[in-house]
Amino acid sequence: MAKKKQFAGKKTKLAELPLTRVLEQKAEDEAAWIEHQTSAATGARQLILSLERTTKDSARRLATTYYQVLQELMTLQADLDPQAASLTSLPEPLPPPALPLPRNLEQVLRLAREGLQDLHRLLSQ
């Protein structure tokens, strides 16, 4: 039998102490409270940032988020290198009520990736 498995069920006096139980309960309550606060704090935290796992509604929010990221990147790029920024143009914003077409999402993602690469290059110069 593995050495560690032989520890199973072996309780110390400390584990049975009322103070230990109070502390464990306190830790559980705190963890539950933090989890509740985190999930209640913002709907954005519930956004699934993976295209494969998106539902109809979250795909739209995902695309909008990427679009906003891209806009921020373009602004940064314009600050750092105005000439390069003028050569790149953003696609039209995705219409909010409709589910984005996969090719639009791909285009936004590709531009975001290129934007990040450009930014990295500019910052490391």
């Binding site: 560690k4 400390l14 102490l17 009322p18 109070v22 502390l23």
Partner: protein, 272 residues
């Protein structure tokens, strides 16, 4: 008013004396006038700081047997400036037996420490839960529990926490919420992975009550005992010196917070 710390664990060999000496030395090196009270009849704190217990006319035995005896009468300086010791001899064991018949026997040490001119008093307790330990629990403001990484240490810790709760007359919530104690992991050996994992899991509910700095197993700490010096004098570059310095810094943070004092983080080099 002195802040009194009991270094306590009824289990033997957990590093109480090593902790008392090096913690006391670390406080003194940082400019704090510190008294170490040797409450162990083995007199190892006295010996460990380079003194000969039998060379003193009066020791902690007299504090316990002579009514209204102040600890100031037995305090002697050590070779470290600002560090003093109230020495103990084997006679303290007999003295402890004699006090069993006295009224308010748990408060003898608290009375003897009243009005002493020190910033910190560190009590090195004997490895038992007898009258000497009860006296130190009664007198102290804070408890440091040196604890080895072993199953038996955890059982000992459980007994000790129950005793603290009773002597300090604290409820479970008070014992946890008030800053009354810290567990200090000693002789920590990273290589003992399986044991460490098990013990740390058991101590998980007590993580806020455990010093973030464990005292690693370190040969220099044993050698400093033989040399009868603090680790900061024997080998200031050793991991033992670094660990005890860090642990002292953690303690001072707790103490400052308790007294609403500003934060201060000196380096080991600047103190030596």
């Amino acid at each position: 008013m002195a802040f009194i710390i009991a270094v306590l664990n009824q289990k033997g060999g957990t590093g109480k004396t090593t902790t008392s000496i090096n913690f006391g030395a670390a406080l003194a090196f940082q400019g704090h006038r510190t008294l170490m009270v040797d409450l162990d009849p083995q007199g190892h704190t006295t010996i460990g700081i380079g003194l000969e217990p039998d060379s003193f006319r009066e020791t902690m035995s007299e504090v316990f047997t002579v009514p209204k005896k102040s600890i100031d009468d037995v305090v002697v300086p050590t070779y470290i400036p600002k560090l003093f010791v109230a020495p103990a001899t084997i006679h303290l064991a007999t003295a402890a037996e004699q006090v069993y018949s006295r009224v308010f026997r748990e408060a003898i040490l608290a009375h003897a420490l009243k009005g002493v001119d020190f910033e910190f008093v560190i009590i090195d307790c004997p490895p038992s839960l007898g009258v000497l330990t009860t006296n130190s629990l009664f007198a102290c403001d804070f408890i440091i529990i040196p604890c080895q990484i072993s199953r038996y240490s955890l059982d000992g810790l459980a007994d000790l926490l129950t005793t603290i709760e009773t002597v300090k007359n604290l409820g479970l919530e008070e014992l946890f919420q008030g800053d009354h104690f810290r567990i200090l992991l000693t002789m920590f050996d990273k290589r003992n992975r399986v044991t460490n994992e098990y013990i740390m899991e058991q101590l998980k509910p007590y993580r806020d009550k455990t010093f973030a700095t464990p005292i690693m197993k370190n040969e220099a700490l044993n050698q400093a005992q033989i040399a009868q010096k603090s680790i900061f004098d024997y080998d200031p570059k050793s991991s033992g010196a670094q660990d005890y310095f860090q642990m002292t810094a953690e303690f001072l943070e707790i103490w400052r917070k308790r007294n609403s004092l500003p934060e201060k983080r000196p380096s080991l080099q600047s103190c030596l």
